[in-house]
Symmetry: C2
Subunit: 276 residues, 2 copies
């Protein structure tokens, strides 16, 4: 029995703080990708979390374990996406962990209840605000109202499982950016405006266009990222920046990304988190 | 570009009437299956709906076409599930039609907006109340609050994509049963009680057990259906009746169904409606 959660790249967002982590979160829009987290659990003498075969601190997944079970477990998670670069690895790991524990110990949680534990783990650890809500749904997800799955509100933009190409230069610290009040003021203003505009015409193209505008308006794009986005556009594709990572994703014109690093081809995931 | 919607068998339900078809619907729980509707659209001289290659009245899909586009189209739908026997074929066809038209004409509808048109088409034609909401989500879907996707509320019971076996004897008329006040009083009482009990322990086994109890309590099971369910149970499986069809579905002990008709093996669908 294995659990699966897709990766997720946010195109634009606005943060919503709340003392209750179930109600904290973000609004915005992002894309789930098939490369994800695959998690198996088994009983153990001492609780241990393995990420790609190596024992890890993994505080977000550990939070989920502590919340859900009292007995020691070995959580074995394979992460197929780039790490620490805005692909929602911590959220996917925590979400897969919640689903896997629910199944293994027959905890009797619904999908939203299991996912809510992962959402709270992310928010509490300041590793993300909206990834879990999106990863639980799958596809190109609009986060309409912030909060844990079932409490927040999501919708989707229907799309085919197209190929998305990415280049990753390195990580950005989510916690650091989310703590910078000046940056976050601009992020929230731009993110709310983008969501409002997307809802006037919710299509993949508009998502790409608004994500691109957001990256610049919010002041989060490095010159490397701007150069990569412009190279894709000059070749007839569309590109934007992965929130929050020093990474760029593109639809079409993948070859234009080559000079910016190894190009990773990923497919849009139609399904959300679940059991394999 | 093709759209897909899974089939859906309801285990138990309670109807919710409302003058507004967006708010009408049902609560309950049911299982989405991979065999579904696959729909392609193209422009035509005159609007035409083909079901498995043959021109058909298809009033539910036609309603969707009339609502969404003004130009004539040819809708080509392949239905992979048994027809008229509670597998949600009309809902899946309408849902696939809505997604396909949205994509083909670039209408800019979100998933919930497109699915809502299919929900209204079903409710207005009295062919179903909750199939579209479940088919839009995928998996083992709990319908917590009635209504169109985005207005009603659903959750899921996380499960693996197991195999479900079915035998179909023939159709039951959904419209006829939904119009019988005496029957519906008992259906609604039993359905609400089953949902309440399921939420205490939302697991696949409980879903099967409560569906079985509902079929008897609501007085909808024929002696043929009761015999088939008991044969499965005698062989160690779990079975219940498809709502609303003269059909039985089972988990495990498929061989026990053989004497009741040709056994169809279907897989639980993890994904909801979308584009291929």
């Amino acid at each position: 029995m294995r659990a699966y959660a897709p990766s997720h790249i946010t195109g634009f967002f606005a943060a919503h703080r709340d003392a209750d982590p179930m109600r904290a979160g973000s609004i915005g829009c992002g894309l789930c990708l098939e490369a994800g987290a695959r998690t198996a659990v088994e009983t153990a003498v001492e609780t241990e979390i393995l990420l790609n075969g190596t024992a890890a601190e993994a505080p977000v997944s550990r939070f989920v374990v502590d919340r859900l079970v009292a007995t020691p477990v070995r959580v074995n998670t394979v992460l197929e996406m780039p790490l620490g670069s805005g692909f929602g690895a911590s959220g996917a790991g925590a979400l897969g962990c919640a689903y896997a524990l629910n199944a293994f110990f027959d905890l009797g949680l619904t999908a939203n209840q299991a996912a809510s534990v992962a959402h709270v783990a992310e928010v509490t650890n300041r590793t993300g605000l909206g990834d879990v809500a999106a990863q639980n749904a799958g596809g190109l997800v609009i986060r309409l109202k912030p909060g844990a799955p079932g409490l927040g509100e999501v919708d989707r933009i229907p799309i085919s499982p197209l190929e998305v190409c990415c280049v990753v230069r390195g990580p950005l610290s989510t916690a650091e950016i989310l703590s910078d009040a000046t940056v976050m003021k601009e992020v929230n203003r731009a993110g709310s405006a983008c969501l409002k505009e997307l809802l006037r015409r919710p299509t993949l193209k508009e998502f790409m266009r608004l994500s691109r505008a957001f990256a610049l308006q919010a002041g989060l794009a490095s010159s490397w990222a701007v150069d990569a986005m412009e190279a894709v556009e000059a070749s007839g594709g569309m590109a934007s920046m992965v929130m929050l990572g020093e990474a760029v994703f593109a639809l079409g014109a993948a070859e234009a990304l080559r000079e910016f690093g190894p190009v990773r081809h990923m497919r849009i995931s139609q399904r959300g988190a679940g059991l394999d």
